[in-house]
């Protein structure tokens, strides 16, 4: 008998706007000692499935409409809240996506890791804490005795996720629901965490439900894969069968749209190239394979990317020169006191970008890559060094004279949710930069321009009067791109601008950036922690570590012949779905 058996589970959300079928008749099972990967994009119902199992969904609006979930012979959906609580955290634990927001910032790590034991077992506090520290050591937290008393914010992202895992494991559960456990992590950390999970499966025979949108990760860790799309399971099977021989068009598209080191497309295929959806009269969706999918793929293959090699660097006009850039952050200081601590975020960096090219800036979180992007735009104060753009050193320009450069240089941020003012309509948000910079003669001309821009980024006039929250993540990022383009810049910093997206959406946005670059001869500084994406986008790549450039070279050189140990380590840690 399998450890967990899900049969025809249906979870709907009933809101005033109507009913959303978040999980719509899915069935799969997990055995002891098995990792089942659940793959799908946001909104596919994979997280809702996890939460339904533990009764963590807010009811209303959520409502389990049918099906059964059998765990070790018990029907979970019928359990009383008290009995369910006894299972939660004891026999089934959960690991959440974002360890920063999912750990309580007000309690120490030890407090939180020991809490499941204290809740479910009748043991002394000392014993519980002892076991918690043991477990923390096991998942790779060094110096656990000492660091256990720290607060979450004092831990790095990787350490936090380890603490989270320790918390899930500390009661020796039979089943772990891991909801995107590595999504927020750097690749090297991710590799280590995946190792820990595999060890758990092998050593303790724990069953793991591993939810992720990242096919690479799934391929590394899972034994079996379940692919979900719009609340339904579209395909399930062993890792090999899914990755090598996908049958469903959605899965095919998903596999094709990921950039890999080997990708040679100029434009990435997208899921839409494979999948066609149609709404049935009863509101459910019918999925078809596009008849022309193969043609389209072949077409894309023919446009092999030639831009991978930089143009002759002598010919290319260097548009931006960064020399010995240093940015130090200080804390403390007030009306009457001097600042105290100093963090050297960027510590002596030289860069140069040629017109029309893309420089990729890659590194792990906290290495200073984002700060470089902001320093170039003078969004943070330079401590030392120069940023020469078009012959002018922006570093010591007074703010008033910076205005023309604000028009020429733009930035697209990581989080499209946070980087749009929630209280401005799209029209307002897009007209405003033009107004500030005095572009276009009058209101109606600006409006026309906005419409043009929206169409350019793949949105329509209908969207003009909407607010950002009415858009999906991918659409929002398009809006951010449109806003950046509204001032007709020459140079754009893309700061992790696709990191928070599903692969299918990521492909669309990357394609958009590519097309715009060609059309408008834009220069990009492309910042990301994702090595495959950077490889896909960039001509040249700089690898950063702790505020300095570790290695610099053409994209192909870096990937095929890494010079520094650090770069090599990074490359090796990237999960690849290649069979």
């Amino acid at each position: 008998m399998s450890l967990l058996d899900i049969k025809n589970l249906k979870t709907y959300f009933h809101t005033r706007a109507g009913t959303t079928r978040a999980v719509d008749d899915i069935s799969f099972s997990i055995n002891k000692g098995e990792i089942v990967g659940v793959v799908g994009e946001s909104g596919s119902g994979k997280s809702v499935t996890c939460h339904t199992l533990l009764g963590l969904l807010p009811q209303p609006p959520a409502q389990v409409e049918g099906g059964s979930v059998t765990f070790d012979g018990n029907e979970l959906l019928d359990l009383s809240p008290t009995l369910l609580r006894a299972i939660r955290g004891k026999r089934i634990s959960m690991i959440f996506q974002d360890p920063m927001s999912c750990l309580n910032p007000y309690l120490t790590i030890l407090d939180q890791v020991a809490e499941p034991i204290l809740t479910h077992e009748d043991v002394s506090k000392d014993e519980a804490e002892g076991r918690a520290i043991e477990m923390m050591k096991k998942v790779g937290i060094r110096d656990a005795e000492k660091r256990a008393h720290s607060y979450p914010h004092e831990f790095s992202g990787g350490m936090r996720q380890r603490a989270m895992i320790a918390m899930a494991l500390v009661t020796n559960p039979d089943l772990i629901l891991a909801d995107e456990p590595t999504t927020a992590l750097d690749v090297t950390v991710q590799a280590r965490i995946l190792r820990v999970l595999r060890d758990l499966r092998d050593d303790l025979g724990v069953g793991i439900l591993f939810v992720s949108h990242d096919l690479g990760v799934i391929s590394e860790v899972a034994d079996r894969v379940v692919v979900m799309y719009k609340g339904k399971v579209v395909e399930q099977g062993s890792v090999e069968s899914i990755f090598e021989n996908p049958s469903h068009p959605y899965v095919k598209g998903l596999l094709a749209c990921r950039p890999t080191f080997e990708t040679k497309f100029r434009i990435l295929p997208t899921v839409d190239d494979f999948l066609q959806t149609e709404e049935n009269p009863d509101g459910s969706l019918a999925l078809y394979e596009r008849p022309d999918a193969d043609v389209r793929l072949a077409e894309l293959r023919n446009q092999i990317d030639t831009g991978g090699e930089p143009q002759d660097s002598n010919q290319a006009e260097s548009i931006l020169e960064v020399k010995d850039l240093r940015v130090h952050f200080t804390s403390g200081g007030g009306l009457l006191s001097k600042p105290s601590d100093t963090v050297k975020a960027v510590d002596g960096v030289d860069l140069s970008i040629s017109k029309g090219q893309t420089l990729g800036l890659v590194g792990e979180s906290g290495c200073g890559k984002t700060t470089i992007g902001r320093a170039i735009l003078r969004l943070v104060k330079l401590t030392d060094g120069s940023v020469v753009y078009g012959g002018t050193n922006l570093g010591d320009l007074p703010l008033a004279e910076l205005l023309p450069y604000r028009k020429r240089m733009q930035i697209i941020f990581q989080d499209p949710y946070a980087s749009l003012n929630p209280r401005l309509t799209i029209e307002q948000a897009l007209i405003e930069p033009m107004k500030v910079h005095g572009l276009e003669a009058n209101r109606s001309a600006r409006r026309d321009k906005v419409v043009e821009l929206l169409e350019e980024v793949g949105l329509s006039v209908d969207h003009l009067l909407r607010y950002p929250h009415e858009f999906s993540g991918g659409q929002r990022q398009r809006l951010c791109v449109a806003r950046a383009l509204a001032v007709e810049p020459e140079f754009v910093v893309c700061d992790e601008c696709v990191s928070a997206m599903d692969v299918s959406v990521q492909a669309q946005v990357l394609n958009l950036l590519r097309e715009l670059q060609e059309k408008r001869n834009l220069t990009y500084l492309f910042i990301s922690h994702d090595l495959s994406v950077v490889k896909f986008m960039s001509n040249e790549i700089a690898v950063m570590k702790q505020g300095r450039i570790e290695e610099f070279g053409t994209a192909n050189d870096i990937y095929e012949n890494p010079q520094s140990d650090y770069t090599r380590e990074l490359l090796e840690a990237v999960p690849r779905a290649d069979f």
Binding site: F13, T15, R16, A17, G18, T20, A22, S42, G43, G45, V48, P61, G333, G334, L335, R374, L377, L379, L402, L403, R406, K407, M409, Q410, I411, F413, Q414, D415, A418, S419, L420, N421, P422, R423, L424, T425, E432, P433, V436, H437, D462, H463, L464, L465, R466, Y467, H469, E470, F471, S472, G473, C480, R483, A484, V487
Partner: protein, 317 residues
Amino acid sequence: MNAANNSLAHGKPGNSLWSDAYLRLRKNRLALASFWFVMLMLALCFVAAWFCPNPDKIDLENKFAGSSVSHLLGTDQLGRDIFARTLFGGQISLLVGFVATTLAIGIGVVIGAASGYAGGRTDAVLMRGVDTLFAIPFLVVVIVLQVVIAEWTKDASGWVVDSWGWDKKLTSRIANIIPLFIALGLFGWLTLARIVRAQVLSLKEQEFVEAAKALGYSRFRILFRHIIPNTLGPTVVYATLTVPGFIMYEATQSYLGLGVEAPNSSWGILIRDGANFLETEPQLLIIPGLFFSLTLLALNFLGDGLRDALDVKAAKD
């Protein structure tokens, strides 16, 4: 999951911030009821009041009369119609509540936002300034204002009457109330500034503010267009909490000669006067007290509803 896609597909018409907020407010039954109650109160005080008996008509033979046709809710210690006095008092109190709150929000939001956004020394100076003002005794300021500003408004109102031909009585009523607003405006915003500042401290780290900077927007524009509108929610809730305080302050000030001039009245004055009849004629306290409390209760729920309605992010489902 993203309900946004659905609404996009169905092409819901886009709206301005406020009309959008109104649509959402309509769904909150309690807030809607409160909204209509406030409207009713406004109608009573500003329209129906004119159909009531003269609120200042003294009839000493007929004091403490019970409810009757000529005096709907009876009469007070000088035989004046309680209902009429309460409604006319409501005009003043609602006006005071509205203007004082507007002033407090206006000043508090700007100072708090500027302080939080600028940070560093500006912040320290502004916040310590708030501390200082917080400790200045209100009463002293009122007494000084009464001398300084009352003189000034007297001159000004005389000038208005002479050169613009305004009605003398009306001008003098307005002139009396202006120093009151100045006093309230001077001090009413202090706590609000703190609250807004705390909001702004977290808002200014948001990427859309950085995006605005990168787009070359001026500090002024960033502050007023991008930061302040996003502090509206907590501001509205806090503001509804301060309204009763303002209305009661008005009574205190009127007693000190800075505000409403007798025999005109306000809810605050009626309640203060009525409290003296607690044992003997409690209706003198209860009637204006009920008008006051119910209106503010409604305002409070309306404020809550507004906060939720203004929060475009929370309106996803």
